[in-house]
């Protein structure tokens, strides 16, 4: 069954799926999401465990951490994005995997991040998981609104055009570097603030939270869910986070089944679960 604890993880998965989706909607295969997720989580863990240890933290303090994490990841994304977004396709993917590794190794070896064990006793803004459900659910709803608006706006159209044909977009006068960088920045900020929530929810944080595995899993959210509309990564993130838990009754077989879903999903749903045709039938999502 889906309890509140799993629901929080599912929503966090959906948010990470949206983070991977953003650059992809502008045709960029970036796997950098776990790096920014790790930066956000580590920042929250460090800030909230400073001074005399408390077990509770105010929601305002968490919002402050989210703001800081947003600024930090945006700055980092700007720094990294300008050189890296010159790369295309698989080269961009490899460069962003390298970024994930650099951030992971840095967090592992910095003198104040607790080494391999990480940081413990991160204080909680909510006493029960249900508080996290409401909080992260509200964030997901806001993101849904923003993504819906994005896809109806010039920026969203330019992203879709770049995804189809970058050279033609440039010849139509679109400042493609700016558009790609904007998508990359928004992706980083979303991953960073998701990391803040995750660190509080998980109560502990270490370098493994932002590993290459996470890059692959979150990419699977988008590929299985569908990359033609923001609903795809949301559905993909919710389902694929829930699946391993729902399969728990079948024991060790669950990892095999989970692998099969990731493997066969694209075979049976090459465009993902949420396709433009499906949205068309569900009513006009695209104005």
């Amino acid at each position: 069954m889906i309890d509140n604890g799993l629901l929080v993880q599912m929503i966090l998965g959906a948010l990470l799926g949206l983070s991977v989706y953003l650059p992809m909607a502008a045709g960029q295969l970036s796997l950098a999401t776990p790096a920014f997720y790790a930066v956000g989580g580590t920042l929250a863990a460090l800030l909230s465990t400073q001074g005399n240890a408390q077990s509770a933290i105010s929601l305002w303090a968490v919002l402050g951490e989210m703001l800081l994490a947003g600024c930090l990841t945006a700055g980092l994304a700007l720094l990294v994005g300008l050189p890296v977004l010159r790369l295309r396709g698989i080269y961009l993917a490899i460069a962003t995997i390298a970024l994930v590794e650099i951030v992971r190794v840095a967090i592992l070896n910095l003198p104040f991040t607790g080494g391999a064990a990480g940081i413990f006793g991160i204080p909680q803004p909510f006493q029960k998981p249900f508080g996290y459900v409401l909080f992260s659910g509200a964030l997901l709803a806001v993101c849904g609104w923003l993504f819906q608006r994005l896809e109806a706006s010039r920026l969203g159209r330019s992203m879709a055009a770049i995804r189809d044909d970058e050279l033609a977009s440039r010849c139509m006068g679109i400042h493609t570097t700016r558009v790609k960088l904007t998508a990359f920045l928004a992706s980083a900020v979303l991953a960073g603030i998701t990391g803040v929530i995750a660190a509080h929810y998980l109560n502990t944080w270490n370098a493994r939270q932002g590993s290459f595995d996470v890059a692959i899993t979150t990419l699977a959210f988008v590929i299985l869910g569908g990359s033609r509309s923001w609903l795809g990564p949301v559905i993909g993130g919710l389902l694929l986070t829930a699946l391993p838990e729902l399969l728990r009754p079948v024991g060790d077989l669950r990892l095999v089944l989970f692998g099969l879903v990731i493997l066969l999903g694209p075979v049976f749903f090459p465009q993902g679960l949420i396709t433009p045709a499906l949205l068309e039938r569900l009513g006009r999502w695209k104005p």
């Binding site: 923003l146 608006r149 109806a152 706006s153 010039r154 159209r157 330019s158 879709a160 055009a161 995804r163 189809d164 044909d165 050279l167 033609a168 977009s169 440039r170 010849c171 139509m172 006068g173 679109i174 400042h175 493609t176 033609r228 104005p287």
Partner: protein, 261 residues
Amino acid sequence: MSGQASAAPLLELRQISRQFGGLQALSEVSFQVEQGEIFGLIGPNGAGKTTLFNLLSGVTPASNGTIHWRGQAMQGLSPDRHNRLGIARTFQNLRLFTGLSVLENVLVALHRQPQGGKLDALLNSSRFRRRQSELRERALQLLEELGLADQAHRQASGLAYGDRRRLEIARALATAPALLLLDEPAAGMNPREKEQLCELLAQLRQRHQLTLVVIEHHVPLLMQLCQRLAVLDFGRLIALGTPEQIQRDPRVIEAYLGGSR
């Protein structure tokens, strides 16, 4: 002649060359295009016509020589800067946004028009919706001019070949250019469609105050359409002049009919 911007031609090529490795795709090509004219560019396959368009639209840099736009040298400018200066193009091998609808292809290209405010976009305010529906109207109007309005909501990849060529023109027009570069706009069209396209281009030039440079293999069509033509052969400019002059030029006859190649 420096200093007098108004006296400068719209477009001027000075000794333009382009090499690809050992291949000389263009060598020392010079000519001018005047405001408002329809200028033809012909030449056998591989003569360097598309390469010339790539230089004029900033897609590839010249190896040597300079291109002047309204009297100003355009050097090292990106393709998007070229478009913002007023040069738009179509592609010989069609580069539409195939995942988008016909209407969206044109809407994308209207990106420099006022959109109705960023905050308004976020809140989906009535001002934003009004402005967006005006933009859709504008896009539909352009599609109408090219005879594509009834297909506005189809996906671009589903269009017939000739319609895709016309959509390329509509999309380029949406960026409000002063100079439109058309790379074989009639390729794949039947004789009747070619005839209609010819009339259409003349109309569009009038209505949008355009200057046109047209690459076309179908020489009779260009003879009818253009005020002046340039002929390229193996990257060299072998003739430049009115259709009558070109028709009588022995070097052109040699390049096209002298079948020793």
